[in-house]
Subunit: 596 residues, 2 copies
Amino acid sequence: MNEVSYRNVSLTEGFWKNRQDIVKNITIESVYDRFFDTGRVEAFEMKWKKGDEKQPHVFWDSDIAKWIEGVAVFNEITPENEEKIEHIIDMIEDGQDESGYFNIFFTVVEPENRFKKRTEHELYCAGHLIEAAVAYYRLTGKDRFLRLMCRYADCIEKVFRIDKSADFTTPGHEEIELALVKLYSVTEEKRYLELAKFFIDERGKKIEHTYGFFNDGVYDQCFKPVREQETAEGHCVRACYLYSGMADIARIYDDKELKHACEMIFEDIVNYKMYITGGIGSSPIGEAFTIKYDLPNMRAYTETCAAISLAFFAHRMQLIEPKAIYAEIIEKVIYNGFLSGISLDGKSFFYENPLEIIPELRHKDVVVKNGERFPITERLEVFDCSCCPPNVIRFIAAIGENIYTYDENTVFVHQFMSGEAEFDSIKIIQETNYPFDGKVRIRYYGPDRKLAVRVPDFCEDIESENGYIYFDVSDGMETEIDFTMPVYFVESNPLVYENCGRYTVMRGPVVYCLEEKDNGKVLRDIVIDSNSEPEEVYDNEFGLPVIKMKAYRRKAQKKLYYRKNNETEETTATLIPYYAFANRGESEMLVWVQIR
Amino acid sequence: MNEVSYRNVSLTEGFWKNRQDIVKNITIESVYDRFFDTGRVEAFEMKWKKGDEKQPHVFWDSDIAKWIEGVAVFNEITPENEEKIEHIIDMIEDGQDESGYFNIFFTVVEPENRFKKRTEHELYCAGHLIEAAVAYYRLTGKDRFLRLMCRYADCIEKVFRIDKSADFTTPGHEEIELALVKLYSVTEEKRYLELAKFFIDERGKKIEHTYGFFNDGVYDQCFKPVREQETAEGHCVRACYLYSGMADIARIYDDKELKHACEMIFEDIVNYKMYITGGIGSSPIGEAFTIKYDLPNMRAYTETCAAISLAFFAHRMQLIEPKAIYAEIIEKVIYNGFLSGISLDGKSFFYENPLEIIPELRHKDVVVKNGERFPITERLEVFDCSCCPPNVIRFIAAIGENIYTYDENTVFVHQFMSGEAEFDSIKIIQETNYPFDGKVRIRYYGPDRKLAVRVPDFCEDIESENGYIYFDVSDGMETEIDFTMPVYFVESNPLVYENCGRYTVMRGPVVYCLEEKDNGKVLRDIVIDSNSEPEEVYDNEFGLPVIKMKAYRRKAQKKLYYRKNNETEETTATLIPYYAFANRGESEMLVWVQIR
């Protein structure tokens, strides 16, 4: 399968164009300003000394790198942004030493520990800088940053692969693997690809490091060689960045064993360890996968970056083979557990994206120090560990790369977004109001081909072949499909104990939730009448309809316990898209609701 | 109100006599043996030296003291037990120094810290030794142990009240307050009562110590003067031992302000912070009360000792004023969250008594180290912190003291247990199979009085005056009441978010639960048909009927999420008394079930 890069796709209107505009107009500047305020930009000057304020963190390099990548992918090289980026590249050039090494923390804070602390994000930062350089070069053609990063990659190759002089073999936080594949794709220098494969091949040959949270080697996926791994384990961002790199290597080298491991792990995630929002990470302890069917809603970890990393993994699996499940998962992620990570106004963020919020319990957690680690209840503009905001920028910038793949016979349409794509002497114009409604019009220009359009899994009335419907298309032909989008209810496997007796309200790919702002407190006690007719009211701010349904709730009582009575009062439940939660101040929120 | 002591009551048959027999015949010896094995007995020799094994813990004195108290209250002074106790008293006599001080830890482990470490259970141990000495003296008339403990109390009075030479004013773990009241009641030495009042009066005048878990002064109830406290806060065993002492002082001194504080706190517990089992303590972090309506079932702390301490508090409130709520709470505790703390065979124990167990999640907690602190799933014979087992012995031994109180006009019957009581020229013979059935026959011998019999709150068809039904009785008169005992369903206040959509099955005062042993896994998915006729099958081992009801569960599915269907299969749900859970190996367990 061939990729259709974000560079070949432009969104012209609709849901995702709107989101992109907000990120372009608001988020890019806002995130930069917060990074500037917190010292992340200044840190590149490498002037920090012991005793100074704003000590650089081990991951600051990567925060700025992701911001640069986002700007470049978006093609938002305004004079101001170009000046900012060129200034950062100046500082990188000045700060890079003769060996090619560049890392802020291990230059100014712990220079004695260069390549000695496996846990401390050194190669993770390198990976993000490489990705940024690749994107900047692709957009501008200016190769200074890319050359600097090739020097750094050469340095890493020498230290890890040739001299083996580092204190560890594989990084504690994966990311460089997929970055080196990108560096290879733009430079065509095979050594970078080989280095990516080296880091993947070496991982788990021995347990290099044990983190306090976990049994040996689980946290950072080195409990056994990656080709023998069959389950998703440990810190889930680390995990899915690794799996993404594995999928890249499996595809490029046609490595069957690695592909099989990727498939097994992907199935483990989607069959046992993924929230209905596409979120992953069931425990804040280690930000990690836990055991099968363990999906607590309120204490979910489900980091925005984890959702992104799962989409990366699915995207790369889709490049190996066009199974509908990969596109389904990307769809789940982008409309739910990813998009909830950024506020509607584009200014503030969630690190965790829980499926239930009860503010009182979060406050309890603050009272009882060192407590139960509930997620925060209100979005912030920047975090101490602020990996998510710039990750959101670059992911939304590149969202178009998820729409199409193709081979010599067939063009696959995996996602539905209004826009134009040009690739391989083909041009496709897609017009849709998805996910507001299910009508999709596709105009095709190019040689005769099969057009394989994914039928979303909520669409039960259209027959498909393994999730796709095939059309023969020729130059200038228009195809129109209408995926009906009624409100429907989803249940989870009974083994997900938290959701027994509870259901999720969905419309198309969008998960809906209850919020206190519309429904008052104690959302868990609302019972939606599934036989009542849903009223859909289009909401401008959310860009999607709000759903209103008849519901019941118990009458308030004074006693703590009392004999069951069936006294309820009728009410109207208002459900909003999950991704829009927590945009109106602190509020109770609930995805899995009672339905009768 | 006057107390009818356990010494004036003997149980002759039925539910509690059976429990007492098991504890007498099995538990007393078993707990002693475990204490012997772990070095708790030997520790009294005060021969431990740095480097030796079995370093005495700060609370070991109290473990043995509670065991002695239990034996004495039970009147189980067999020659073997007498020898064991006299040997321990010998060691105490030898170990006590000229000042009257006796504490193992602060003599052999940290002698330099005597009366310096507020947090380390020093006065808590003193209190339990005093309680043991009082019980042993009351039973045997032998006053050696009592005199030793009077000397120790004198020492404490001198250090804390006269010289104020200790490094703290009030103990970090309350208990000595109520113990000193008992010492006063047997010695009639007012100084001991004054010392108890001193510790209560001083508490919270300043924050003496801040524990890591909590904001200032909450953990150990010193956040404000006790008379200004209106809510139950902090470590809940500490709390209820304190509140018990406060209730004693309020009653004896007729201290209105203190009584009011006790009433407010009691209401706070029963209206907002108590499980339906009578368990208290919603968080394992700090073993503590948390916020109103926060009653997580699976991660409940609900220590056996906490249930006991709540019964102590309620018992003392009942001595101030015969409100039915006090007896109701004692009943809730003794048939549920207390009794679950000991296995049916009398040999093993729970520290925590959760309302739901899913073994896989506990195992996850072990995999993810330092995790979410779920309770253990199987009973143990002894714990490192083994306060509960001997507390169970002494509490069951004295259970009869909860049945009656009286004043010049009225004899109150609060609890229903077959047995004889003699007090104040009155004799009462009670015959009942309670809680197996609700028939209670009371024969009264003595002068003309009012007999006030509590009408249990589950009994809705008998009219009462504030929870009691009044009879005029004269010598030889027999009264019979039948409290009907159908199976019924209880709901909790909607604000208890965990229980929304869920109900507890009860019969009389007994909470029932589902266990995996009878019903298979995924108990949360069982929906009991409330319109089906419950079948009651008497179970010899449990001493109560098992309840069988028609129920439904969803058919097993492979997928993680799927569109709601209404496919269920009919099944029979088997419910056992909550107190009998975890007697057949590790098993899922659930109290709050789905009902339709």
